[in-house]
Amino acid sequence: MLEIRIHGRGGQGAVLASQILSYAFFLEGKFSQSFPTFGAERRGAPVSAFVRVSDEFINLRSQVIRPNHVLVLSAKLAETVDVASGVGPDGFILINTDKPPEHYNTIEGACRIVTLNISSIAAGFGLGSRIMPMVNVPILGAYAGISRGVSLEALSEALPRFISANPEGNQKAMKEAFEQAQTIN
């Protein structure tokens, strides 16, 4: 079973990102499941959401505590929240930041850290505002590019069900993030 954890702040669309990603896996013929950390979500407060993917219907409903992959929507969160919690040595953490991976050497854990300036991509396609670009969709493109576990096509197909604002910008930003992520070793 593949398990993914997404960290964001209330209002950044982490839950929506988990649903899009889950649905994209589903479109590729997998069983998947998406759910948020359960609580009263406040704007700006740290939130997380989870995706599980399997070849069979998923009975497990407890929170994901040993994710294979982690997506971090807000760079600052990587410094305040234990984003590496439970990630194994084969896993990776993808952080939206303008800093290189070395900047996060202090993160405890042996897993790989990948960084990409997704905010800049999002802003370039008019997603959200300059001050707070909406990265929840493009980071999925980056995830597909790095993990190669889900296709950009499935994500593109999944998107319209969940996102009605600026569909073209979101699709293009996702593709751009996908392409940039593919060049990362």
Partner: protein, 390 residues
Amino acid sequence: MSYRADQGGGAPKMDMLLGSDAVAYGAKLCKPDVIAAYPITPQTHIVETLSLMVDKGELESQFVKVESELSAISACYGAAAAGSRAFTATSSHGLALMHEVLHWFAGARFPMVLVNANRAMGAPWNIWTDQSDSLSQRDTGWLQLYCETAQEALDSVIIGYRVAEQVMLPVMVNIDGFILSHTMEPLFIPEPDEVDTYLKRYEAPYFLDTENPLSFGSAATPDNFYNMRKYMARAMKTVPRILREEFTGFEEHFGRSYSAIESYRTEDADTIILVSGALAGTSRVAVDRLREQGVKVGLVKLRLFRPFPGEDLIRALGSSGQVLVFNRAVSFGAGGTLSQELRAAFYHLDKRPGILDVVISLGGKEVFPETVAEVVGQADQLSEENSNWF
């Protein structure tokens, strides 16, 4: 919001929905005449989605916006008295606020389906799941079903109307707050015409009618009152048989099979977990892992709580050594609600398993498969006289 209207034609195919949206779809397919609801976490998605469906003209229901849950159930009571099919959804304190009218509803022998997103009762304030809200309504005369998956939630609404309108008692369908309501997962959504042939328009045998004046809920003399309650008890007694027939009919129609209780890997099991709701899913995973280690453990899922399926449970649990009852509601001073019910069901038998009262979670206390495995591992040290808290 994962709600969408563009259901493709042709054969039913799998889709993905939030548990709460699955309930909304189930309700929509049953074409309730009246929906009266008041929002409360974690149920709000259900009635939000339904109101959106009404607003878009996809569902021709009267959507009555009310100022409290007491009004919501009262509006449903009025609708049912007028011979309408009614629907509402609530949770926790909302259900508690409905308490008085829950009695009225069953006493008046009105059918309806209410979906409750199981959530703890305060104080302290808590929005997470347990079954204190619904299990404390066990004596109101409502049928109670508990769901493990979004599919079961959707299907239970449809089956709920079929049963309610036969026995003339209301049905409460329970889904775990957040754990089921806020999880998006794959399921089959039946086609509207399939449901139309399975669930006909509700024809109330008696209803408020100016051409044929009659009244509901007026004063009854003690003897009449007693008899009406006796008939209510008799009607409840017919539920297991009717439900069995309905589950069979549902399977013939939709291909999905259900039963009042469900056994999982119980053959040769020394220890059986009795569990209800979405916690059954995580418990299954634990059972699988323990079986791999050679532990003879199984699981029985309780789908029907009221009426309590005692005979089914005696058959399923009677030959096991011990039953670990996973309670998520406690009657303080008497122990876990589910344990009490199970003990009562076995009381008249000489041969009965050890029944261990386990308070597994309240107020959303997380249960991992490891938690379940630990409890099973400790089973021999657990108390049979007292509730086991961790």
